[in-house]
């Protein structure tokens, strides 16, 4: 009887939530609540991480603040900017449950993901690589058969390795710090993630020279901001903010701050990438 009651309760919950009607558009929600919530990473330098002064900073966070300014301009009222942690495994639920309005981290724009969320313009381009201890025999994706490869749960890299390279032993961790520590301790032979994030980790480590980033990009990872689907007004605001930043130079100043030669993680902008970014800016 009691067990039946439990299943009944679960069934009621399920049916109750089964009623779906149109969601509140994001701009209206921001207007009503006065808060713009952004989900970002807290362990992925230099996109979103906790620095030595224990502040939460990053390239994606700075770009999100530009979006925030544009939202305030559009709504004509001041809006609070709030940051929430999101990881590859949690970011889509956080969006769909309205816990955040925008994911500004290291999310790769993919066709499959566009079934669940909408993406802004591409704001960064990279590809998946491997991080290994200096001198490791692994030099690229062809060397990983039979080796232990660490990855983050929910990332595109995990999916790629699982689908295309089943001869490698995949060890999946809930977040980047755990995976990196495991690699540092030799529990996995390599840690795979997008190249730029691996560079960020390497530069922030206490001994950057102990680590190497190896391999050609075995995937193409264009980063975009993610938001709820069917919300074109909000998407316009986000995209226009990015376009204005690229057009007006603000974007490149931020890029230099984080990825320039004196930046947190030197990662020069290739001419093709620069051209690609500039060509995303459509005429007024």
């Amino acid at each position: 009887m009691k067990r039946f009651g439990i299943f009944l309760m679960v069934a009621v919950l399920i049916l109750g939530l089964a009623g779906i009607s149109a969601a509140e558009p994001t701009l209206e929600k921001i207007k009503n609540t006065g808060v713009f919530t952004v989900g970002s990473r807290s362990g992925s330098p230099p996109f979103g991480y906790i620095n030595k002064q224990n502040e939460w900073v990053g390239f994606s966070i700075d770009l999100a603040r530009l979006v925030h300014k544009n939202i305030e301009k559009k709504l004509g009222q001041s809006v609070k900017f709030e940051l929430k942690e999101s990881t590859p495994a949690t970011r889509i639920p956080l969006l769909s449950s309205m816990a955040v309005d925008l994911i500004a981290g290291t999310m790769t724009d993919t066709r499959a993901r566009r079934e669940s969320v909408d993406f802004s313009l591409t704001f960064f381009v990279t590809g998946a690589q491997f991080m290994v201890k200096k001198g490791s025999p692994i030099r690229g994706v062809k060397d990983i058969a039979g080796k232990r490869i660490g990855a983050q749960q929910g990332s595109t890299n995990e999916r790629e390795v699982r689908a295309r390279y089943p001869q490698a032993t995949l060890v999946v961790f809930p977040d980047q710090p755990a995976a990196f520590t495991a690699m540092a301790q030799g529990k996995v032979d390599a840690y795979t993630n997008d190249g730029i994030q691996l560079w960020g980790l390497k530069m922030k480590a206490s001994n950057p020279d102990d680590w190497e980033i190896v391999g050609e990009w075995y995937t193409y990872e264009p980063y975009g901001f993610a938001m709820r689907k069917n919300d074109s007004d909000f998407r316009q605001v986000v995209n226009v903010a990015l376009m204005e930043a690229i057009e007006g130079g603000e974007y490149f100043k931020l890029y230099d701050k984080w990825f320039g030669l004196k930046g947190e993680v030197p990662y020069p902008l290739s001419p093709e990438a620069k051209r690609f970014l500039e060509m995303q800016v459509i005429p007024k």
Binding site: M1, K2, R3, I6, V10, V12, I14, L15, G16, L17, A18, G19, I20, S21, A22, A23, E24, P88, A89, I92, P93, S96, S97, M98, S116, R148, G150, Q153, G154, R159, V171, V172, F173, P174, A178, T181, A182, Q185, G186, K187, R228, K229, N230
Partner: protein
Amino acid sequence: MLLSGFFGIPYEFRWNVLWEAPHYTWIIDGLWMTLRISAISWIFAVLLGIIFGALRTVPFRPLRALATAYVEFFRNVPLLVWLFFWYFGAPEVLPEPIRQWFIHHGMEFWSAVAGISVYHGARMSEVIRAGIQSIPKTQLEAGLSSGLSVSQTYRLIVIPIALRLIVPPVTNESLNLLKNSSLAMTIGVGELTFATRQIETYTAKAFEAFTAGTLIYLALCLSIAYIMNRVERKFAIPGLIARAERAEH
């Protein structure tokens, strides 16, 4: 339904993600892993529990102190912290060849087993100690004075009573162990909670994925509790006041 008008969420239910390949294989693998971790850890935990629980009742002071130290040290720190310690901290002090062997033979699994066994061993020992100490002395005395030898008294009277006394709290602790196996996902073990998370990250259907995991845990815990309840009632000694709290339905 009545409630449906209230919620406006952009969420499409797609229950078939649960039986699409390879999702359901992940659930099965995850469930199997949960059972494996729980079973192996349970055996170690009960062994540790018996050893240290008994040690806490012996008249020899240093052994008692040792056992008390074990219990108080391990059970006062959260299991999650222990798992991180056993996976990231402890292996670093192992000699290199042993460490390498573990790395290639499922260190994640064995760190999880170590953490869970030692922690729950400490909790089990408390339960077993309480059980041993609550056996009425009079039973032992009565047995001896009826002419039974010490070992006979223990075998025929004390131990059967002890077993019946400790079954409910041990069952409770064992279920806690099963539920705590879910923490192993934080150090890379692919058990059931990990598997539901995995489905959710691949399909974005969190509700369906979590429901599957929840129902499986419920089924496991409720059936074990029900079976142990029947066992307990079948073997109960009439007139023996045993339990602290009972859920009767």
